[in-house]
């Protein structure tokens, strides 16, 4: 019984992990039992043999430097509360400085009419049908589109009718009525009203004056002055 007890605890005894009552008991038994003492000695030999055999190797130097480098990088980019706060503030400032709303329907339409106005001026292709007679222009639109907007003659008001052409707004062919005022050309793009109301715009000296009348949007595009465009708007409504 004593031997069994001792053999169960012999490893802990050898490793000095036994509490003193048990250790004293084991020690007392070892003093009188040769067999158990042999077992302890065998254990100690084994322990020594393992320590001798299992050489301790050094971690590869490359591993050490690699870990130091990686943790150094992580350390540099690791965000403490202050760093996070600063990063957040910088982010907010950047958003405020550079944020542009997603182009709205109106922005895209204005982009369309501006670029076509510029193309028409720069290529000299002002009109598809050249005439100062509203009837001829309306007939041409009806022929091309199946309908025609009203084309008022505004000569007396200083806006000379030049003609008409087809424009492209959001993929649809639309009538464009062309006037001239003080050597400057004015395109009026005429489209069905969209969901949002037409807006005015200024891009690099070219103005867009927009208005809505009976479910139709009018966009007068010109490098004429905004006040002249505003006059045209007024006369157009009176004489349509």
């Amino acid at each position: 019984v004593k031997c069994e007890f001792t053999r169960r605890l012999i490893d802990a005894y050898m490793d000095s992990e036994l509490d003193s009552p048990n250790a004293i008991e084991v020690e007392a038994h070892l003093a009188e039992c040769d067999k158990c003492r042999q077992i302890l000695e065998a254990r100690q030999e084994l322990s020594k043999a393992i320590k001798l055999a299992a050489g301790y190797v050094q971690a590869p130097a490359g591993l050490r430097t690699q870990i130091r480098r990686e943790t150094h990088i992580k350390r540099r980019f690791r965000f403490g509360p202050v760093t996070t706060g600063i990063a957040f503030a910088v982010g907010v400032v950047l958003v405020l400085a550079f944020w542009r709303p997603w182009p709205s329907e109106q922005d895209r339409i204005i982009g369309d009419v501006l670029s076509q106005h510029e193309t028409s001026v720069s290529t000299g292709h002002l009109v598809d049908v050249a005439s100062a007679d509203p009837k001829i222009i309306q007939a041409w639109f009806s022929n091309k589109l199946g309908y025609s907007p009203s084309v008022p003659a505004l000569n007396k008001e200083g806006f000379e009718l030049v003609g008409g052409r087809l424009g492209l707004v959001q993929g649809h062919s639309v009538p464009v009525v062309v006037y001239a005022h003080k050597q400057r050309k004015i395109d009026i793009f005429i489209t069905p009203s969209g969901e949002s109301s037409a807006t005015d715009a200024d891009r690099e000296g070219i103005h867009v004056r927009s208005w809505n009348d009976c479910g139709v949007d009018y966009r007068a595009v010109s490098n004429d002055t905004p006040s002249d465009l505003s006059n045209l708007h007024k006369e157009f409504l009176i004489h349509k």
């Binding site: 490893d11 802990a12 490793d15 992990e17 299992a54 590869p60 870990i67």
Partner: protein
């Protein structure tokens, strides 16, 4: 400021146990390349968790991370092996030792045989042997590393040593 202090602490308390971490990995995985990988990823985990380390037992704390990393690798390996060699059985050590039955004295054992015997132990036994004999951790520290009660450490260590003795004396002396 606080972070810099933490980094210096990491260097002092954790990096100085890198050799221990590497040796444990090497003994558990028995492959220098795998051991290096496991040590590296364990050290990164330790680095991230270092701020949360409780107490001042840095060595067992680190070795616990290393040990878990290695066990994951071993598990992945055993899954792979089962898939690749589904019928292969684990070899009985007694058949593979080249010990002369008459040569039973421990002193005459050469290092190679001892290492081979240790390597034949299942990883659960191998780790307690290494932690005790090589790292000379206390039972309490070993318990921390393997995440088991001290009683388990004690019985595992006893069984591991008995098994080694059986292997090394080729059945000469049974315990």
């Amino acid at each position: 400021l606080f972070r810099k202090e933490l980094d210096e602490q990491f260097e002092q308390e954790i990096m100085r146990h890198l050799d221990a971490a590497y040796n444990l990995s090497l003994w558990l995985l028995r492959d220098p390349h795998d051991a290096e990988d496991a040590t590296q990823s364990a050290l990164y985990k330790a680095f991230r968790a270092f701020g949360r380390m409780r107490g001042n037992d840095a060595k067992p704390w680190l070795l616990a991370i290393v040990r878990n990393e290695c066990m994951d690798v071993l598990q992945a390996r055993s899954v792979r092996n089962r898939l690749e060699y589904p019928t292969e059985e684990i070899l009985d050590f007694a058949e593979t030792t080249e010990l002369d039955p008459e040569e039973s004295a421990m002193q005459t054992l050469d290092a190679q045989t001892v290492v081979a015997a240790i390597n034949q132990l299942p990883p659960e036994f191998r780790e307690v042997i290494m932690l005790r004999e090589i790292e000379e951790l206390s039972y309490r520290e070993i318990a921390h590393v393997i995440g088991k009660p001290i009683g388990t450490v004690m019985s595992r260590l006893a069984r591991a040593r008995s098994r080694l003795q059986v292997m090394l004396t080729a059945g000469g002396e049974c315990l």
